[in-house]
Symmetry: C2
Subunit: 354 residues, 2 copies
């Protein structure tokens, strides 16, 4: 007997990157930040924990929304308040909420390819159809991405993109959103490592939503906290779809402390960006062909060598990177920007392997 | 311009119980546990926090699933392993996952009424239809609950039920599930305060799923942790629908410590059950007509008096209870079982009001 929805039974489900138990392995496969979070965060969590956990948390994480509106509004000369922000249990929760709010059974979503494969999973759970629009070889995005299509209800754009680490410029994103017959979800999971971002576009267009996460640039993947910035009437509808208490008391406390400590974020960013340059340069010297990255990882296709054996040998030697192979595009190693010594260890090994 | 799904725009959204800022108010409105959680839990959270939050948590909360299978299996002489358990960001996340996995647009769900109003919200988000089956005046459930119906894809049963605090006996639940043309989700949020439960039915029928939460009986509403027990082939499909990292590192650590400390839970339960008896008795003496409760709250309709003014006056005096009014059934005060002194304060006030 099966009583599951046919689309659920048919799908394979999203497979997250390997999470080996903590130990000697150098983990450069899931774009985690290699540094510990701001000490303000752990202090805030300890305080919240001491205050007790028996009560339900604030259903809308008001404290974070105030704080984030101030920090982000200030940084972008944007006049936004808490009503522009929806908080989630990681930005995956945000992507889920947005998909459920816009996309019904049999309807269409669109995203570029190769990109974050979770977009397809979310569409499949809705019983929706997926249209993948290939990036150009230079990782730009043609007007096909904004073409009209029956039943097109939502477009996703990871920006910076994974695995490429490349970015579509905000002006171009605005053009694409303007032309699209549906809303555009700009997934800025990695944007704090980039030179620019699309946040201010939200004030210019009700069709643009920007998703952020604290997992990467605030080193808080274990905490699960993300948020969406969009016009208030959009946030208001989306709030109906989220679970009532989707963010717990500890993550709200930690997230407030994190976004409040911009000095920590800037300093962390400097380290990651410097290490990224060095990694990119070294990979080119090893014969790989990485595009310039705007994220905390570098995408390394190789023009001649098969890279899967390299991935396997790195893993055997204790360095875990992400091997990805995209039909029609080819394969590569996506290497997270680790600490200087992690990068050194990875590069020394690679020198013996290529 | 609106591009939301019509069902999303049409719905009003779930309104959680009031969460006033911490302070002098006596909060007996959302069935939180009035005591602090086990000290083992806060210690485990502090340890996890000190170990760092930069890495993603275990996507399937394996440690908790092992621990829970052992504790619950042992208590019920049930041979279940971790593959019988799915963890969620609160049991609301579990209810969401189950609904998304079974219920498509235009299909039907069923639940008794009056009960937890979130079931309707979850169906509305799916664009599904809802059939409400009234409880009998003595809070039993007739065979209408298990009647065949086109497109019926899921039935929910809060057991113990809210607001009544009453329970359908496990044998009757098994009968109903057996007759139903779909799976039955038994929501046991309050079951640790009851005399019995439906956990062992899961081994007898693949049509029965049991949801649990740590919010009530473990005093961890702020942590957001719930789980589902069902047959492994059911869990396997449901796991595709959950967000990849739906439980954070701190809640997994805290949840493991909580379920491991059954001595704390039993001691807490004794206090709540004793206070519940006293509250029920006192409410009857005040002229209310509460059914015997199997939960950590008592439902208090009044055969003569209108109770809304009583709710208002209690609130003004600093005691917050839940006022509920069900069309065709009537209204009442749902009062959470607090500490002895909270109950005393509430009762003293009530004596001046009725």
């Amino acid at each position: 007997m099966s009583m599951f929805r046919a689309n659920i039974e048919a799908m394979t489900g999203y497979v997250p990157g390997e999470q080996p138990p903590p130990g000697k392995i150098i983990k450069l496969n899931t774009n985690e930040n290699p540094y510990a979070c701001s000490p303000q965060v752990t202090r805030a969590i300890e305080r919240a924990c001491a205050q007790g956990l028996s009560r339900y948390p604030d259903p809308s994480a008001t404290a974070f929304r105030h704080c984030a509106a101030q920090v982000l509004g200030g940084a972008h000369a944007l006049d936004i308040g808490p009503e522009w922000i929806l908080c989630g249990n990681g930005s995956d929760d945000i992507l889920t909420i947005v998909t459920r709010a816009f996309v019904g059974e049999g309807e269409l979503v669109r995203h570029p390819t190769p990109s974050y494969v979770l977009y397809r999973t979310l569409a499949e759970i809705q019983g929706a159809r997926v249209e993948e629009v290939p990036f150009a070889p230079d990782w730009t995005l043609g007007s096909q991405f904004a073409a009209p299509a029956d039943d097109l209800r939502l477009a996703y754009l990871a920006n910076p993109n994974s695995p490429s680490g490349t970015m579509i410029a905000p002006d171009r994103v605005f053009e694409l959103a303007d032309a699209l017959p549906c809303l555009l979800l700009v997934d800025e999971a990695y944007v704090d490592f980039a030179d620019t971002d699309c946040l201010s576009l939200v004030a210019r267009s009700e069709k643009i939503m920007v998703a952020r996460t604290l997992s990467k640039s605030y080193a808080l993947a274990g905490l699960r906290f993300g948020f969406l910035v969009a016009q208030p009437h959009v946030i208001e509808q989306l709030a109906k779809v989220k679970d009532s208490y989707n963010c717990d008391a500890l993550s709200i406390a930690g997230a407030c402390a994190a976004i409040d400590d911009q000095a920590w974020r800037m300093e962390n960013r400097e380290k990651i960006v410097a290490a990224r340059s060095r990694l990119t340069q070294a990979m080119r010297e090893l014969g790989f062909d990485p595009p310039d990255s705007q994220a905390n990882f570098v995408w390394n296709p190789h023009p001649e060598l098969p890279v899967q054996p390299i991935y396997e040998r790195l893993k055997k030697a204790g360095v875990l990177v992400r091997y990805m192979d995209y039909p029609g595009i080819g394969d590569g190693l996506r290497i997270t920007v680790g600490t200087d010594s992690q990068i050194d260890a990875c590069l020394s090994l690679l020198k013996t392997l290529v």
